[in-house]
């Protein structure tokens, strides 16, 4: 991992959550570890030096008896040949259980079926900041590849010693070391027999080039797909523990209120129920969900309420609440040249404002947790993207050492950036502590829509200048509250000033698929379309004129070709739009065709998207991520919005908060540009980013109506209703 990447990762972690911090701890000594796994070979990879220093602990001189504090990956090969890989990453539908297994199989030269992954368990897996930011493939991927390659090297060494031959004469294939001359072979398991081998590596052995991949790079099916079609997979919300109770939490009537009084005598009479009242937290644990719900309804609470802002003034409020304000403006994140100069050499100028609404992640599995205490130690199963962060939250909340808290993340029913915090984990653990029994808590959909956090709303001002030949000369971008992701323009502009203005936001907000990427892409790519129109240029031609990055040009051209861009002209009822961009090391371009009905209803009829994320690890899984991002993007682009007033969410139900369904599905054509010459980048986020601006631009091309707010047409086209 290079320094820039590490800095990004740390920055991103800070942006994702204020509560998290780096904390490396390693609880198992080598002896314990081998005891747990039995004999075999264990290979550890030291974390990059810079991360160790970040944690306040410099790298130590380690011998292989004492494990270093900063370990980023390890794997174990047992005597029966089973390979167990340990990673702090979690699976929530993005298919990394499979893609990481492919990478290990590739480097270790073993069949895919011999690999199992232990993921997201704070007691067993190395520390990991979290599964977000499209980081699994570019960071965890290479780490696991390195340990796997090192293990393969170790087996070649062992076989060479055993047969007393040159190691260079041996080959590793299919879980065996083979001597092609003598035709003898020995399995990895056999080589580990009776031994406790530990190999510690700090840096990379040579990795297989993606051009030579045989298992990675292929569309292997999900490694555990069968349990998902039989109902056999146990999500957190499906778990049961001996003696387990069901929990419910009494929610306040509005945000930011405090508990004035609580009357719980009637609720206390519920058989088997435990009522917990601790500060503003009030909850119930009972033998079944029905009695927990009944007890909750019997609680009488009064809350201290105060007037809060409404959605009507949201965008003005965000500007006003921008920290610094006009008195001391925020420092630009990026600046080159001089905006004044860039504007002075322009033939035309444009100054526009774009807005994005609060939206919800709506993971189909709501937040859920099971908390269990035993001998002053706490174990929590929960669907979270940050198991180690949740462990910290729990340790702080219960004033205990992190060593006494274990968090496990069963493969989760999706998250999309929405499951970073440990809310349900804290609640279940608090209830379990009071009840003296394990407690399961599953949030209702209404709780999800109200008490989770949202994708930040934002206001974005863009001021630009362009010459008549289509050259952009100035680009000033001010993003309020939306966030920093993809805030810079990928186009070549000599005079730029890019500023993020954080604000005190009225609603709880946090990460989302691509963070602010969809918002900042919307503002930029709609503005690009406006500039093209201003100088009378065709939108694709205008983008290509200002794009010097060959990867950006490649996706724009590939999407246009896949789509048949320019083949048809827009009409009043049929519009075509294009947009592109880059973030997290991958590139996207999207073309859309829309149908506009007589009542002003807008339907996306066709989408062609080109996506490039370096070498593709699993084309089938990647295809799912891309189509999924397009489908999800349709919601945020066209109709999704959280409405609120005075500290309450006004549409906390799926009946009032529309998400894309089958009837919203367009024809989707995906072009994956597989760049075997580039390292693989993540792919969970960037494919969503160009969709909304492409839709906005298509509406303009059909109707001449320029819409600058997301969602674009929550109630159909204005003036057509």
């Amino acid at each position: 991992m290079n320094d820039e990447c590490t800095r990004d990762l740390i920055l991103e972690n800070q942006e994702q959550t204020a509560t998290s911090r780096l904390n490396y701890s390693f609880e198992l000594q080598r002896r314990d570890f081998c005891k747990m796994l039995g004999g075999g070979l264990v290979v550890f990879l030291s974390a990059p030096q810079v991360l160790s220093q970040e944690a306040g602990r410099g790298p130590r001189n380690t011998n292989e008896d004492e494990l270093p504090q900063a370990i980023s990956a390890w794997l174990h090969i047992a005597q029966d040949g089973t390979v167990t890989v340990f990673t702090g990453k979690v699976e929530m539908g993005q298919n990394i259980r499979t893609s990481l297994s492919q990478l290990v199989a590739e480097e270790l030269h073993v069949p895919l079926g011999s690999i199992q992954l232990i993921m997201g368990d704070t007691a067993l897996t190395p520390y990991d900041m979290g599964t977000f930011g499209s980081r699994t493939t570019p960071t965890m991927g290479p780490q696991l590849r390195k340990v796997a390659a090192a293990a393969r090297g170790k087996f070649i060494d062992l076989a060479a010693q055993r047969w007393k031959v040159e190691r260079s004469s041996l080959v590793a294939e299919d879980g065996k070391i083979v001597d092609p001359r003598s035709k003898q072979s020995v399995s990895y398991g056999e080589l580990t027999k009776g031994q406790e081998l530990v190999k510690l590596i700090a840096d990379a052995p040579a990795l297989e080039s993606p051009a030579k991949w045989k298992i990675a790079g292929t569309p292997v099916p999900k490694v555990d797909g069968r349990v998902f079609v039989t109902g056999g997979h146990r999500y957190t919300s499906d778990m049961a523990r001996p003696g387990m109770l069901h929990g419910k939490v009494l929610r306040p009537t509005a945000f930011k209120v405090s508990l004035k009084s609580l009357e719980s005598a009637e609720a206390q009479k519920t058989p088997g129920a435990t009522i917990v009242h601790d500060g503003n937290f009030v909850g119930v644990a009972a033998p079944d969900l029905a009695s927990a719900t009944k007890a909750l309804q019997l609680l009488r609470a009064e809350w201290n309420v105060s007037r809060q802002t409404s959605e009507a003034t949201l965008f003005e409020d965000l500007r006003k609440a921008a920290t610094g304000g006009s008195e001391s403006p925020a420092e630009p994140l990026y600046r080159t040249g001089s905006i004044e100069e860039g504007l002075s050499v322009a033939n035309k100028r444009l100054d526009q404002t774009y807005t994005v609404a609060y939206i919800a992640h709506v993971p189909l599995e709501p937040r859920a947790a099971v908390g269990e205490w035993k001998d002053e130690k706490l174990t929590v199963w929960t669907g979270s993207q940050r198991p180690f962060g949740v462990r910290e939250e729990l340790a702080e909340a219960f004033r205990m050492a992190v060593e006494n808290v274990r968090v496990l993340v069963p493969d989760t029913g999706s998250a999309y950036g929405g499951k970073h915090t440990g809310d349900a984990a804290l609640e279940a653990a608090r209830l379990a502590k009071a009840a003296g029994k394990p407690v399961k808590l599953v949030w209702t959909r209404e709780e999800e829509f109200t008490w989770a956090y949202f994708r930040p709303a934002g206001v974005i001002d863009v001021e630009s200048g362009v010459r008549d030949d289509g050259t952009i000369t100035a680009w000033q971008f001010d993003s309020y509250n939306a966030g920093q992701a993809a805030i810079r323009t990928p186009y070549s502009v000599p005079h730029q000033k890019i500023t993020f203005h954080p604000a005190d936001a009225p609603l709880r907000q946090g990460s989302y698929r691509g963070l602010a990427g969809p918002a900042n892409h919307f503002a930029r790519e709609v503005h690009m379309d406006e500039l093209a129109h201003l100088v009378g240029m065709e939108p694709l031609e205008f983008r290509l004129k200002n794009a010097s990055d060959p990867r950006l040009r490649a996706v724009l051209q590939a999407a246009a070709e896949k789509f048949g861009w320019g083949r048809e002209k827009s009409t009043a009822t049929r519009g075509f739009g294009i947009a592109g961009g880059t973030e997290k090391g991958s590139y996207v371009a999207t073309c859309v065709e829309l149908e506009i009905g007589s009542s002003g209803n807008v339907r996306v009829a066709r989408v062609a998207e080109a996506f490039e994320c370096g070498a593709v690890v699993n084309p089938s899984g990647l295809h799912n991520q891309i189509t999924g991002a397009i489908m999800m993007g349709i919601g945020g682009a066209l109709f999704e919005a959280i409405h609120f007033d005075n500290g309450r969410i006004l549409n906390p139900h799926l009946a009032d908060y529309r998400v894309p369904r089958f009837s919203d599905m367009p024809q989707i054509d995906v072009e994956m540009l597989d760049r075997k010459d580039l390292p693989p980048a993540g792919a969970g986020e960037t494919p969503i980013m160009a969709l909304a601006p492409a839709i906005g631009n298509a509406i303009f091309s059909a109707t001449g109506i320029r819409l600058r707010s997301l969602p674009i047409v929550p109630k159909g086209l204005p003036g057509k209703r």
């Binding site: 539908g93 039989t230 189909l364 999706s414 799912n624 397009i630 998400v659 894309p660 369904r661």
Partner: protein, 154 residues
């Protein structure tokens, strides 16, 4: 007085209130957790089961209404280790990502194919409109249902 339910061909006696929703009885009393809670409002389809062959939102159905009827959950589709053709088709098309909506989507498709062995795309889309896949795997779900129908035709 316990209620008697027929689930996946087996009898279950459950001591629950008659107005208890079938979803929680299946999940918490009988232990069939393949049927999911997604919204509790009949909007997302994750809780879909078959009652006498009809796709039903178990989060809204009082358990008493299912007494005496044949209830089929996702766990009941596999016969003698053989996946149902719809399950097989979902697996083959990789028509899921996080998998949380998959049970409900499969059961909606099974109900459709039982009634209309040769559905048009329009019929498939209409039958699955009530099943939200937030991961957005809709194109492959459509492909899987088409493929299962083709297998059925033989």
């Amino acid at each position: 007085m316990p209620l008697m339910l027929w689930v996946n061909g087996a009898q279950h006696h459950v001591a629950v209130a008659a107005d208890q929703k079938l979803l929680y009885v299946l999940r918490d009393q009988i232990g069939l957790t393949g049927t999911k809670y997604g919204c509790g409002e009949g909007q997302c389809g994750a809780c879909t089961v078959l009652i006498d062959g009809t796709a039903t939102r178990s989060c809204l159905s009082p358990v008493a209404q299912a007494v005496g009827k044949q209830i089929t959950t996702i766990e009941g589709l596999e016969q003698n280790g053989q996946l149902h053709r719809v399950q097989e088709a979902f697996l083959k098309a990789e028509a899921f990502q996080c998998g949380y909506c998959t049970s409900g989507a499969i059961l909606s498709a099974v109900a459709l194919l039982n009634k209309s062995p040769h559905p048009t795309d329009q019929q498939i889309l209409a039958s699955l409109e009530g099943n939200i896949c937030r991961c957005g795997t809709y194109p492959r779900i459509l492909d899987a249902v088409r493929a299962a129908a083709a297998v059925q035709r033989g």
